[in-house]
Protein backbone atom coordinates (compact mmCIF):
# COMPACT_ATOMS: atom_id res chain seq x y z
CA UNK A 1 0.00 0.00 0.00
CA UNK A 2 1.47 3.28 -1.02
CA UNK A 3 1.58 6.03 1.54
CA UNK A 4 -0.24 8.98 -0.06
CA UNK A 5 1.68 11.35 2.17
CA UNK A 6 5.10 10.05 1.09
CA UNK A 7 4.97 11.78 -2.26
CA UNK A 8 3.74 15.01 -0.75
CA UNK A 9 6.55 14.92 1.80
CA UNK A 10 9.06 14.38 -0.99
CA UNK A 11 7.88 17.47 -2.84
CA UNK A 12 7.94 19.39 0.44
CA UNK A 13 11.59 18.49 1.03
CA UNK A 14 12.43 19.53 -2.51
CA UNK A 15 10.79 22.90 -2.07
CA UNK A 16 12.42 23.22 1.35
CA UNK A 17 15.79 22.62 -0.28
CA UNK A 18 14.91 25.17 -2.91
CA UNK A 19 13.87 27.62 -0.23
CA UNK A 20 17.13 27.07 1.63
CA UNK A 21 19.10 27.61 -1.53
CA UNK A 22 17.16 30.74 -2.30
CA UNK A 23 17.42 32.03 1.25
CA UNK A 24 19.48 34.74 -0.36
CA UNK A 25 17.58 37.97 -0.66
CA UNK A 26 15.96 38.43 -4.06
CA UNK A 27 13.10 40.01 -5.93
CA UNK A 28 9.61 38.59 -5.83
CA UNK A 29 8.59 37.27 -9.20
CA UNK A 30 5.25 39.09 -8.94
CA UNK A 31 7.07 42.41 -8.58
CA UNK A 32 9.35 41.70 -11.54
CA UNK A 33 6.46 40.48 -13.66
CA UNK A 34 4.33 43.56 -12.97
CA UNK A 35 7.26 45.92 -13.40
CA UNK A 36 8.34 44.51 -16.76
CA UNK A 37 4.73 44.30 -17.98
CA UNK A 38 4.19 47.96 -17.10
CA UNK A 39 6.90 48.90 -19.60
CA UNK A 40 5.57 46.90 -22.54
CA UNK A 41 4.39 49.04 -25.42
CA UNK A 42 1.65 46.67 -26.56
CA UNK A 43 -1.19 45.30 -24.45
CA UNK A 44 -1.03 41.88 -26.05
CA UNK A 45 2.58 41.25 -24.95
CA UNK A 46 2.76 38.68 -22.12
CA UNK A 47 5.57 37.27 -20.02
CA UNK A 48 6.11 33.51 -19.86
CA UNK A 49 6.50 31.95 -16.40
CA UNK A 50 10.06 30.79 -16.90
CA UNK A 51 10.97 34.09 -18.50
CA UNK A 52 9.84 35.87 -15.33
CA UNK A 53 11.99 33.59 -13.18
CA UNK A 54 15.04 34.22 -15.35
CA UNK A 55 14.45 37.97 -15.38
CA UNK A 56 14.14 37.92 -11.59
CA UNK A 57 17.60 36.37 -11.48
CA UNK A 58 18.95 38.86 -13.97
CA UNK A 59 17.65 41.82 -12.02
CA UNK A 60 19.22 40.46 -8.86
CA UNK A 61 22.55 40.07 -10.64
CA UNK A 62 22.25 43.64 -11.93
CA UNK A 63 21.72 45.03 -8.44
CA UNK A 64 24.49 42.87 -6.98
CA UNK A 65 26.90 44.02 -9.68
CA UNK A 66 25.99 47.65 -9.07
CA UNK A 67 26.58 47.18 -5.35
CA UNK A 68 29.80 45.19 -5.56
CA UNK A 69 31.38 47.50 -8.12
CA UNK A 70 30.44 50.57 -6.08
CA UNK A 71 31.95 48.94 -3.05
CA UNK A 72 35.19 48.08 -4.87
CA UNK A 73 35.37 51.68 -6.06
CA UNK A 74 34.96 52.93 -2.50
CA UNK A 75 37.66 50.48 -1.40
CA UNK A 76 40.08 51.68 -4.08
CA UNK A 77 39.58 55.23 -2.84
CA UNK A 78 40.09 54.22 0.78
CA UNK A 79 36.61 55.34 1.82
CA UNK A 80 34.73 53.95 4.81
CA UNK A 81 31.33 54.28 3.23
CA UNK A 82 30.02 53.69 -0.26
CA UNK A 83 28.90 57.10 -1.48
CA UNK A 84 27.09 58.37 -4.51
CA UNK A 85 30.28 59.40 -6.31
CA UNK A 86 31.50 55.77 -6.17
CA UNK A 87 28.29 54.60 -7.76
CA UNK A 88 28.47 57.35 -10.39
CA UNK A 89 31.95 56.25 -11.40
CA UNK A 90 30.99 52.63 -12.02
CA UNK A 91 27.62 53.34 -13.61
CA UNK A 92 28.75 53.85 -17.25
CA UNK A 93 30.56 50.52 -17.47
CA UNK A 94 27.72 48.77 -15.64
CA UNK A 95 25.21 49.96 -18.21
CA UNK A 96 27.50 48.98 -21.07
CA UNK A 97 27.93 45.50 -19.61
CA UNK A 98 24.21 44.96 -19.42
Amino acid sequence: MTNPYAERQDSLTTSQNMAERDAEIGFKKETVSKLLSSFFKEDKTRLGGDAVLLMTEMLKVFVQEAAVRSQKQAESEDCDQVDIEHFEKILPQLLLDF
Binding site: G26, L35, F39, L47, D50, A51, L94, F98
Partner: protein
Amino acid sequence: MSVDKEEAHQRLKAAVHYTVSRICQKMGEDYRREFSRQVIAAIAETAVRQCDIFAKDLEAFARHAKRSTVSTEDVKLVARRSTALSIYIQNKSEELNQEQRDLKKKSTGKRKSRDTEEEESRQ
Protein backbone atom coordinates in the same frame (compact mmCIF):
# COMPACT_ATOMS: atom_id res chain seq x y z
CA MET B 1 -7.37 55.85 -14.22
CA SER B 2 -3.91 57.30 -14.67
CA VAL B 3 -3.73 58.20 -10.98
CA ASP B 4 -4.20 54.50 -10.12
CA LYS B 5 -1.53 53.56 -12.63
CA GLU B 6 0.83 56.07 -11.11
CA GLU B 7 0.15 54.70 -7.63
CA ALA B 8 0.73 51.15 -8.80
CA HIS B 9 4.00 52.22 -10.37
CA GLN B 10 5.10 53.94 -7.16
CA ARG B 11 4.33 50.78 -5.21
CA LEU B 12 6.43 48.71 -7.61
CA LYS B 13 9.31 51.16 -7.29
CA ALA B 14 8.99 50.97 -3.51
CA ALA B 15 9.11 47.17 -3.66
CA VAL B 16 12.28 47.33 -5.77
CA HIS B 17 13.80 49.84 -3.37
CA TYR B 18 13.07 47.53 -0.44
CA THR B 19 14.84 44.54 -1.99
CA VAL B 20 17.76 46.67 -3.19
CA SER B 21 18.07 48.01 0.33
CA ARG B 22 18.22 44.49 1.76
CA ILE B 23 20.80 43.35 -0.78
CA CYS B 24 22.98 46.38 -0.05
CA GLN B 25 22.60 45.95 3.68
CA LYS B 26 23.74 42.34 3.54
CA MET B 27 26.65 43.28 1.31
CA GLY B 28 27.54 46.10 3.65
CA GLU B 29 27.71 43.62 6.51
CA ASP B 30 29.71 41.07 4.53
CA TYR B 31 32.26 43.55 3.29
CA ARG B 32 32.19 45.88 6.33
CA ARG B 33 31.52 48.92 4.18
CA GLU B 34 28.07 50.43 4.37
CA PHE B 35 26.07 52.00 1.57
CA SER B 36 24.77 55.51 1.96
CA ARG B 37 21.02 55.93 1.60
CA GLN B 38 21.61 58.00 -1.50
CA VAL B 39 23.46 55.14 -3.19
CA ILE B 40 20.75 52.63 -2.35
CA ALA B 41 18.11 54.95 -3.80
CA ALA B 42 20.27 55.49 -6.90
CA ILE B 43 20.77 51.75 -7.44
CA ALA B 44 17.03 51.16 -7.05
CA GLU B 45 16.20 53.94 -9.52
CA THR B 46 18.75 52.57 -11.99
CA ALA B 47 17.33 49.05 -11.62
CA VAL B 48 13.84 50.30 -12.48
CA ARG B 49 15.15 52.17 -15.52
CA GLN B 50 17.07 49.08 -16.59
CA CYS B 51 13.82 47.11 -16.39
CA ASP B 52 12.34 49.55 -18.88
CA ILE B 53 15.18 48.79 -21.29
CA PHE B 54 14.90 45.02 -20.63
CA ALA B 55 11.14 45.08 -21.18
CA LYS B 56 11.37 46.97 -24.48
CA ASP B 57 14.07 44.59 -25.71
CA LEU B 58 12.14 41.49 -24.60
CA GLU B 59 9.03 42.74 -26.34
CA ALA B 60 10.96 43.47 -29.54
CA PHE B 61 12.60 40.02 -29.55
CA ALA B 62 9.28 38.26 -29.01
CA ARG B 63 7.62 40.29 -31.74
CA HIS B 64 10.53 39.54 -34.08
CA ALA B 65 9.90 35.82 -33.49
CA LYS B 66 6.20 36.46 -34.22
CA ARG B 67 5.21 35.66 -30.62
CA SER B 68 3.15 37.67 -28.19
CA THR B 69 4.51 35.85 -25.14
CA VAL B 70 8.06 36.57 -24.01
CA SER B 71 10.05 33.32 -23.70
CA THR B 72 13.30 32.24 -22.07
CA GLU B 73 14.98 32.51 -25.46
CA ASP B 74 14.20 36.23 -25.45
CA VAL B 75 15.72 36.54 -21.98
CA LYS B 76 18.88 34.77 -23.13
CA LEU B 77 19.19 37.33 -25.94
CA VAL B 78 18.83 40.21 -23.50
CA ALA B 79 21.75 38.73 -21.53
CA ARG B 80 23.98 38.48 -24.60
CA ARG B 81 26.28 41.48 -23.94
CA SER B 82 28.31 39.91 -21.16
CA THR B 83 29.68 36.40 -21.62
CA ALA B 84 29.62 35.68 -17.90
CA LEU B 85 26.03 36.88 -17.60
CA SER B 86 25.03 34.91 -20.68
CA ILE B 87 26.46 31.70 -19.24
CA TYR B 88 24.88 32.36 -15.85
CA ILE B 89 21.41 32.85 -17.38
CA GLN B 90 21.89 29.81 -19.60
CA ASN B 91 22.71 27.69 -16.54
CA LYS B 92 19.72 29.04 -14.61
CA SER B 93 17.49 28.19 -17.56
CA GLU B 94 18.81 24.63 -17.65
CA GLU B 95 18.32 24.36 -13.88
CA LEU B 96 14.68 25.37 -14.35
CA ASN B 97 14.20 22.81 -17.13
CA GLN B 98 15.83 20.11 -15.02
CA GLU B 99 13.55 20.86 -12.06
CA GLN B 100 10.51 20.66 -14.34
CA ARG B 101 11.74 17.38 -15.84
CA ASP B 102 12.30 15.96 -12.35
CA LEU B 103 8.79 16.93 -11.29
CA LYS B 104 7.34 15.32 -14.43
CA LYS B 105 9.37 12.15 -13.88
CA LYS B 106 7.94 11.82 -10.39
CA SER B 107 4.37 11.82 -11.62
CA THR B 108 4.96 9.64 -14.72
CA GLY B 109 7.33 7.31 -12.83
CA LYS B 110 4.49 6.11 -10.63
CA ARG B 111 2.28 5.60 -13.68
CA LYS B 112 4.97 3.66 -15.54
CA SER B 113 5.64 1.26 -12.67
CA ARG B 114 1.93 0.63 -12.33
CA ASP B 115 1.70 -0.10 -16.09
CA THR B 116 4.58 -2.59 -16.00
CA GLU B 117 3.02 -4.30 -12.97
CA GLU B 118 -0.24 -4.71 -14.88
CA GLU B 119 1.63 -6.09 -17.92
CA GLU B 120 3.53 -8.57 -15.80
CA SER B 121 0.37 -9.79 -14.07
CA ARG B 122 -1.29 -10.22 -17.50
CA GLN B 123 1.64 -12.32 -18.72
